[in-house]
Amino acid sequence: MKKSPVVTIVAIGIGAALFFVLGRFVAIPSPVPNTNISTQYGLLAFMAALFGPLAGLLIGLIGHALIDFSYGWGIWWSWVIASAVFGGLVGLVARKIRLSDGEFGKKDLLAFVLAVVLGHAVAWFAIAPVLDIVIYAEPANKVFIQGLFAGAANIVTTLIIGLLLCYAYAAAKPKKGSLKEEK
C-alpha cells in the first residue's frame, strides 16, 4: 500500500514531538560533559525506517532544533544538522525494510544495523565535528573526541532501543498474507 503524503507530514510532526519529549526528559547523563546518552535516536531510526528518508531528515531537524530552542542556549547548528543527516541516511539505507507489513526478519535486522552504524558514523565522526570547526572554529582534536564518544554511545543506544521498537511494532502489526481463504 502506498502511503499518502499527508501521513508523512503527520508522521514528521508527531515524530518531532516524540523526539523532543525523549530528548528533553529521558536523557541519561554520561561521564563526558556536554554529552548525554540519548534515547531519542532509537526512535528516530525507527521512524526513518518506517516513514522514509524525508521524514527521518525533518524529524531530526525539527526535533533537535526545538530541543535547543527550549533550553535557550541558541541553536547549535552543527549538531542539529548532524541529527537531520542521521535521520535521512537511516531512511535511505533502510528503505527495503517492510515494517509496515509487520515483517522484520534477519535480512531486515542486518539492514537496520547497517543503516544505524553508517548514519551515526557519518553524522558524528564527520559532519558534526567538521561543522563545529567551520562555524565555531573549535580545536580539531576536542571536537573529534567529543564526536567519537557521542557517536559510539549513540550507536549502542540506538541499536538497543531502535531494534526493540522495530520488533515490538512488527509483532503488533498483522502480517501480510496472514489471512487465508477457507475452502
Binding site: 518531532a16 560533559p33 556536554n34 535557550g72 565555531y136
Partner: protein, 275 residues
C-alpha cells in the same frame, strides 16, 4: 509543564512585531554572529541585546534559569577547549606571547586568552537574541511565520503539529511512566546503566505504539478535510507587516552585512590585534 517554550505575553514593541519578522531577524542575527570572529562586532551584538531586552519588557528573572544553564555549558566548553588544545590561539593568530607556563605544552598565552574571550563573546552575542525570540514569539504564530519566510506549508504544518502535540505526548509519557513504576520498573540512578535502558524501553514501547495510532487518526482527519489539495493556505495567526517590521529587518540585515564586510576587511574571520 504546559509552558515549555517560555513564551511570556506582555505588551511591548517587540511582541508587536510579526513572527515572520522575528524569525528573519533571528536568522540574520545568528548568521552574523556565526560568520564572524571579529571581537568588536561580537561585543556590539552583545551590547545591542541589552536595550532590546529592556524594550521587550522581559526581565532577567524570567530567563535566569536558562542563562544559568547556558553559563555552565559555556564554562565546560571553555575548559574542554583549553584542556584539549592550549595552543589553539597561537595557531589561529600566528604569534606567541607566553604569560604563564604550567609545564609541558600547557602555557597560558595572550592569544589563547583572547580566543577564549571571543568564544565567550560568541555565546553572549547569539544567546540573548534566541532567548528574546523564544520569550516574545507565540508558538502558534511560529509555524505561520515559517511559511511566510518561504518554507513549504506542509513542512510548516509539521512544525505546527509538533508544537501542538508536545504537551500531549509529554502527559502520555508521564502517565505511562507512572503506571510502569507502579509495576516495579525503575529508572533511577540506583540501577545499572543496562537496567535503566531496559526500563526506558518499557515506557517507550507503549508510548510509541500509541503514537503510531495517533498518526493514523490525525492523518485520516486531515485527509478527510482535503489537506494538501491547494498550493497555498492561509494561517489564522498570520499578521500583515508594519513599518516597525521593516525597520527591524533592515537593522538585522545591516548587522549581517557588517559581519561580511569586516571578514573582508580582516582578510579572514578573525580580528587580530597581535600584528
Amino acid at each position: 509543564m504546559r509552558n515549555i517554550f517560555n513564551y511570556i505575553d506582555r505588551p511591548s514593541p517587540v511582541h508587536r512585531l510579526t513572527g515572520a519578522t522575528k524569525l528573519v531577524c533571528l536568522l540574520l542575527w545568528s548568521f552574523a554572529s556565526m560568520l564572524t570572529y571579529d571581537t568588536r562586532l561580537l561585543a556590539l551584538l552583545m551590547l545591542l541585546s541589552i536595550p532590546l531586552f529592556a524594550l521587550s519588557k522581559i526581565r532577567v528573572r524570567d530567563v535566569s534559569f536558562m542563562l544559568g544553564f547556558t553559563a555552565v555549558f559555556m564554562v565546560l566548553n571553555n575548559v574542554l577547549v583549553f584542556a584539549f588544545s592550549p595552543q589553539h590561539g597561537v595557531s589561529l593568530y600566528g604569534t606567541k606571547h607566553v604569560l604563564l607556563s604550567l609545564g609541558g605544552s600547557y602555557e597560558v598565552t595572550a592569544e589563547q586568552l583572547f580566543y577564549h574571550l571571543n568564544l565567550v563573546l560568541k555565546y553572549a552575542s547569539s544567546i540573548p537574541i534566541v532567548l528574546l525570540f523564544v520569550c516574545t514569539t507565540n508558538p502558534s504564530e511560529f509555524a505561520a511565520s515559517l511559511n511566510r519566510v518561504g518554507v513549504k506549508y506542509s513542512v510548516a504544518y509539521s512544525v505546527s503539529l509538533a508544537l501542538r502535540y508536545i504537551p500531549d505526548i509529554q502527559r502520555e509519557y508521564h502517565e505511562i511512566s507512572q503506571a510502569q513504576q507502579a509495576r516495579g520498573v525503575e529508572m533511577s540512578k540506583k540501577q545499572s546503566l543496562f537496567k535503566r535502558l531496559k526500563s526506558a524501553s518499557a515506557i517507550l514501547i507503549p508510548l510509541i505504539l500509541s503514537s503510531m495510532d495517533r498518526i493514523e487518526v490525525i492523518s485520516n482527519a486531515m485527509e478527510l478535510r482535503g489537506f494538501g489539495k491547494n498550493k497555498k493556505r492561509s494561517w489564522y495567526m498570520a499578521r500583515p507587516f508594519t513599518g516597525l517590521d521593516y525597520a527591524a529587518m533592515a537593522l538585522c540585515l545591516a548587522l549581517l552585512l557588517a559581519a561580511l564586510w569586516l571578514n573582508h576587511l580582516n582578510g579572514g574571520r578573525f580580528y587580530n590585534p597581535f600584528i
